[in-house]
């Protein structure tokens, strides 16, 4: 069961989205989300939908996988929509009588519920497009580049990036280890499924103790291995695969600004 874990569920590919400079991709994703919150008109959202659909098409990631990413957020979406629907005061469209009370649904509530749901949906799709097209290593590279200007403020950008890389690197290893330990203890008749909460918590001991022991052992081995290769951290380190801005990235910025322009016209200039 733990073998199926894929962090950020990166789907390898060779689309322009995959090849973009990671740091720029992160910035553009943030900008994408910011733009989203400036939109109010249905027409703007329609345009935004077209742009997002085009992005998905370019990325080559199947729609099925993107929809799968939305599924875990479904309850939050429904909850947000319901809260907005019922809790917004305004011009009552219809009311549901309920004994002594009545629940009023306002026009503003309907609009707000719809906008919030659509915004959240786009937000999830945008963020998952980033993680679907960027490998964890590229992602840390991007974060390192973005934090670099904060270096004079004593933000340890290289160290943060290195820690993230190591953490991401060890997730599958530890997941495999956990899987193996669970199997081994199951084979020895351990029972993780029955009993009350206290019993079940106690049943985790045979898993957690070996897992911690092995995590510490691995950390120790890794530290020794890094030291043996003269790792000393800091800014003098170079990378084997250096990422650079290319023509493609300039084009991406241009396309993004163009889309922003179209959205601005639709949202503010047109009087529909």
């Amino acid at each position: 069961m733990f073998k199926d874990i894929t962090i950020g569920q990166y789907i390898p590919g060779s689309s322009p989205l995959h090849k973009m400079y990671p740091a720029l991709k992160i910035i553009l994703t943030i900008a994408y989300i910011v733009v989203l919150f400036f939109l109010h008109k249905p027409l703007s959202y329609a345009a935004f939908f077209v742009f997002t659909a085009a992005l998905i098409l370019i990325s080559g990631v199947s729609v099925k996988i993107i929809l799968k990413g939305i599924r875990p957020m479904l309850w939050i979406l429904i909850f947000t929509a319901l809260i907005n629907l019922f809790m917004t005061q305004g011009e009552t469209v219809f009311s549901i009588p309920l004994w002594a009370f009545s629940i009023n649904i306002s026009r503003e509530g309907i609009v707000l519920a719809a906008t919030m749901t659509v915004r959240l949906l786009f937000l999830i799709v945008g963020a998952s497009l980033l993680t679907l097209t960027t490998s964890p290593l590229q992602l840390t590279d991007g974060i390192e580049k973005l934090l670099k200007p904060l270096r004079p403020l004593k933000v340890p950008s290289y160290e943060i990036a290195m820690m993230m890389t190591i953490a991401i690197r060890f997730i599958p290893t530890l997941a495999e280890e956990t899987d193996k330990i669970i199997k081994a203890q199951t084979a020895r008749g351990a029972d993780f499924e029955t009993g009350n909460i206290l019993r079940r918590a106690k049943a985790m001991v045979p898993i957690l103790v070996p897992l911690f022991v092995s995590a510490f052992r691995r950390a120790d081995e890794l530290a020794t291995a890094m030291e043996a290769r003269c790792y000393n951290g800091g800014g003098k380190r170079t990378r084997m695969k250096e990422t650079r801005m290319k023509k493609l990235d300039a084009a991406a910025i241009a396309v993004f600004l163009l889309c922003c322009g179209i959205l601005a016209v639709l949202e503010y200039a047109l009087k529909i």
Binding site: I181, A187, R188, G189
Partner: protein, 287 residues
């Protein structure tokens, strides 16, 4: 008896990472046999043994233990776990209790045995694997590497399984530790005449020294299932699929082709030593 019928297993089906580890393996393993499973990395050895312990469910096919289908819907998996003991690779990584005694007792305790029975089983299995009384009260983390592994094996033995499966029991041990573990396997085979013992190994030397039968896995299928002696007569085929015959067999084969009259199919050092000694005593001028 363990019987697998056309068993297949696919990891992460219907994802981009889908991979078939086992493609239709059919086997029959007799009661009281001592069988080694060998094969190249990724040949499906580990998957096969996890299926036999009902830790994985086959994608297709059936597995019968003593005629009982352990892959059927609603099969009692806990009963299977009791019957089939599995010692994982590096089993010492699963030790967790504060004393060796408690760790060995974990399995029997889960089976719901009474104190007296547990105590007997713990001491008996510790004795079989060569752990002394003084070790039982120590923390398992204070033992040496070889002792830890033996303690972990004792933990599975204490459940008194009908089938004992060991996944690379000698991995990462020094020659002395290897011989100790292989010795334990042989002793068990002699002691419990109806116990099925299966062990996975990478080392042809270990297989030659210890096992009676061998299952050769290749690319998710069963390539051979025969006696060890017979398997080594197919030396060429073994080398084709990335496995080696023991060094001593290679050596005696070369000696033979150089004109020295040694018998065919020598695969243990002991046997080779005897054959060469016989030749020297016989003194027919070849050696």
């Amino acid at each position: 008896m363990i019987k697998t019928e056309n068993v297949s297993y696919v990891y992460q089906p219907s994802t981009p990472f889908e991979s078939a580890a086992l493609k239709g393996a059919s086997l029959e393993i007799e009661d009281g046999s001592l069988t080694a499973v060998i094969g190249h990395t990724g040949s499906g050895k580990s998957t096969l043994i996890q299926l036999m312990c009902a830790l994985l469910k086959p994608t297709s096919g059936r597995i019968l233990i003593d005629g009982e289908d352990i892959t059927a819907k609603g099969a009692d998996l806990r009963a299977v776990h009791r019957k089939v003991g599995l010692v994982f690779q590096y089993p010492e990584h699963q030790l967790f209790e504060d004393t060796v005694y408690k760790d060995i007792a974990f399995g029997p305790k889960n089976m719901g045995l009474d104190e007296k029975e547990i105590d007997e089983r713990v001491r008996e299995s510790a004795r079989v694997v060569g752990l002394k009384e003084k070790h039982l009260d120590r923390s398992p983390f204070d033992l040496s590497g070889g002792q830890k592994r033996r303690a972990a094996i004792a933990g599975v033995l204490a459940m008194n399984p009908k089938v004992l499966i060991l996944d690379e029991p000698t991995a990462g041990l020094d020659p002395k530790g290897r011989d100790d573990i292989l010795g334990i396997i042989k002793t068990l085979h002699k002691m419990r005449s109806d116990m099925i013992i299966i062990f996975v190994s990478h080392s042809m030397e270990d297989v030659a020294k210890t096992a009676e039968n061998v299952i050769v896995m290749n690319d998710g299928g069963v390539e051979m299932h025969c006696s060890v002696a017979e398997a080594f007569t197919h030396a060429e085929r073994l080398q084709e699929i990335g496995l080696n015959v023991p060094q001593i067999t290679l050596l005696t084969d070369r000696l033979r082709s150089a004109g020295i009259k040694l018998p065919e199919h020598i695969y243990t050092v002991d046997y080779a030593a005897k054959a060469i000694a016989g030749l020297v005593k016989g003194g027919d001028g070849d050696v």
